[in-house]
């Protein structure tokens, strides 16, 4: 089966989109429980299928060795996929392995829907999620070649290479994959055309009415309410909300001027490149 990566830098609306997609594909379950999505929750970097399919403890390998095995694993997962459509979350940047093979597949078997969010809002949300300061988060987002550093402990996911925020976007934009880019801000301010564009890219035969219903069932205030009542499996730590605010422009109020300027430079690089490449 063809794999669509639902790709984004962390905290850019990936989970929100998957909840929308669940409500679209399974209207009989709408509004879906985010803790029990009817579509697969399988992230590209999950340890579970790695250990189950390959047959050994993933902690025995270095990050480079585990990365080398992931393309073969993704092929097996696509081959055995049971759902109507294979959409998998990915936070890794689109990078090449030492042998030149892409970590995240090649056309025609893989394509990508990329969600882009203003970096200052990503910074606020990611700082909360990662449990580090905004200053440290901004440094991480602006550091070329930045990797997640998790070498002192195993986590539920294999190590992911994020690169800097702009490198992350451009790695996908410059990839050979068929790519559709949507902006988080448009998912709010111009919701239906934006979700329509994504649904068309995923080649799903749904009309405006179905898309609007799925969008309404996925409204952020509902997700916050559900998280308050029952918690959310993807929240990073006890007492830390995953569906925090989801608003646009919070970062411009909370970040220091020089932090905004650093991220503005990153955004300009991205916008210019997207314009040059001609991505809509």
């Amino acid at each position: 089966m063809h794999t669509f990566w639902l790709a984004s830098y962390p905290k850019s609306g990936n989970t929100w989109f998957r909840i929308f997609l669940s409500n679209l594909l399974y209207p009989e379950h709408a509004p879906v429980d985010p803790n029990h999505l009817p579509i697969s929750n399988l992230i590209a970097s999950a340890r579970g299928p790695f250990e189950e399919i390959l047959g050994f403890h993933s902690s025995l390998l270095t990050r480079e060795e585990s990365a080398r095995l992931r393309p073969a694993l993704d092929q097996i997962i696509a081959r055995d996929w049971q759902d109507e459509i294979c959409v998998r979350k990915a936070h890794d940047a689109y990078t090449l392995l030492p042998n030149g093979q892409p970590l995240l597949g090649e056309p025609p078997h893989f394509s990508a829907l990329y969600i882009l969010r203003d970096p200052w809002d990503v910074a606020v949300s990611a700082a909360n999620h990662w449990g580090i300061s905004i200053a440290e988060t901004v440094d991480r987002m602006c550091c070329p070649g930045q990797n997640e550093t998790k070498d002192l402990n195993a986590t539920e996911q294999l190590p992911q290479q994020l690169l800097s925020w702009s490198e992350h976007v451009l790695s996908w934009a410059n990839s050979p994959l068929d790519l559709c880019l949507i902006r988080y801000e448009d998912m709010y301010t111009d919701a239906l055309p934006t979700f329509r564009k994504a649904v068309d890219f995923l080649q799903l035969p749904y009309d405006e009415n179905s898309i609007e219903k799925a969008f309404r069932a996925s409204e952020f205030k509902n997700l916050q309410k559900l998280e308050t009542e029952a918690g959310f499996i993807e929240s990073p730590r006890a007492g830390v909300k995953f569906f925090r605010k989801g608003i646009i422009g919070e970062g411009l109020e909370l970040l220091a001027t020089e932090q905004i300027e650093k991220l503005q430079e990153e955004l300009e690089v991205v916008n210019q490149a997207i314009f040059n490449i001609g991505i809509n």
Partner: protein, 312 residues
């Protein structure tokens, strides 16, 4: 020179030295004998076998490999190991003790759950969090801070059924794989331990171990030790849906190999017996970390403050 070792209830006759197993004093090898031999392995035409990305499985013999590290040929009697001369020896040994041993044990109709487990007197309790979720740490904590708890297994818990279909858990004997953060929180940095490989900070830590089989009493599940309080997908769905059979079937180590090996019926009955007799429940902080500094450290970690704005 051959070495007599004990692993997951099997006697291992090996011409590979396994320091990982040398601290294990069990002489109980009631499940059978498996030889480990160095030899040339060529993975043949795989069309008569069920193929995976790094394995080819058949009724009487199978192959499992990791490119650039090792190739193995596996039968009920023996595992033949053809290791790359540049591969780290400890990595080769660690891998032999995982997939090839799992396949060899399946030829003997011995199945394993992928859990960490401790023995508490007369029964064994197992922890199953998501991979990387801290089940090894949970097991280590029990041994360090609770009376009469010993290590039973880390990655593989072999379970057999006695004459009354009671599930019996066999000790693994290869220590616990712990990362620096866990070793530090549990103050285990002076315990006997082995490097798994020089490039990685994970260590195989040896704590007091169970050396006899005993009844499997309980399996505790959670997404991870950090999320014990929360609802989660996957394992807990299976608990709340009262589907312990499905849990056992899906968490069987090497479950993809059972059909092509020809042990589906035995595995089905094995799952059924465990599901009928073993308590499966959601893990909580109170069960796992009732007292001690580690509990405080976990809570501290859970409530880290986020600095909203830099001082600049």
């Amino acid at each position: 020179m051959n070495h007599q070792l004990y692993y997951c209830g099997f006697k291992i006759d090996s011409n590979v030295v396994f320091p990982e197993l040398s601290q294990f004093e069990s002489k109980n090898s009631g499940l059978g004998n498996i030889k480990i031999r160095i030899g040339k392995v060529n993975v043949p035409d795989r069309h008569k076998l069920l193929e995976g990305p790094n394995w080819a499985i058949g009724h009487e013999k199978s192959y499992w490999w990791l490119d650039g590290v090792l190739k193995t040929k596996i039968t009920a009697e023996a595992i033949t190991v053809d290791a790359d001369h540049q591969a780290p020896a400890a990595l080769v040994r660690a891998l032999i003790l995982e997939a090839p041993m799992t396949i060899a044990m399946q030829y003997h109709s011995a199945f394993c759950l992928r859990v960490s487990a401790v023995s508490q007197g007369s029964f064994v309790k197992a922890f199953r969090f998501l991979p990387g979720g801290g089940s090894s740490t949970a097991a280590a904590w029990q041994v360090c801070f609770r009376n009469n708890h010993t290590v039973s297994s880390d990655t593989l818990l072999t379970i057999t059924l006695d004459s009354e279909n009671t599930p019996i858990a066999w000790p693994q004997g290869s220590g616990l794989l712990l990362w620096p953060k866990s070793r530090s929180l549990l103050k285990l940095n002076h315990c006997p331990m082995l490097e798994v490989r020089s490039e990685l900070p994970v260590r195989r830590v040896f704590l007091p171990s169970k050396n006899n089989p005993s009844k499997l009493g309980r399996i505790e599940v959670a997404a991870s030790y950090r999320k014990l309080h929360q609802r989660t997908q996957g394992d807990l769905d299976l608990v709340t849906a009262r589907q312990p059979f499905k849990f056992v079937a899906l968490r069987t180590a090497g479950r993809l190999w059972i059909d092509p090996i020809g042990k589906s019926k035995e595995h089905f009955l094995w799952c059924l017996s465990i599901a009928k007799t073993v308590e499966l429940r959601k893990a909580t902080y109170a069960d796992l970390y009732p007292t001690g500094n580690f509990s405080a450290e976990l809570k501290k970690e859970s409530h880290q403050k986020v600095q909203k704005k830099s001082p600049s």
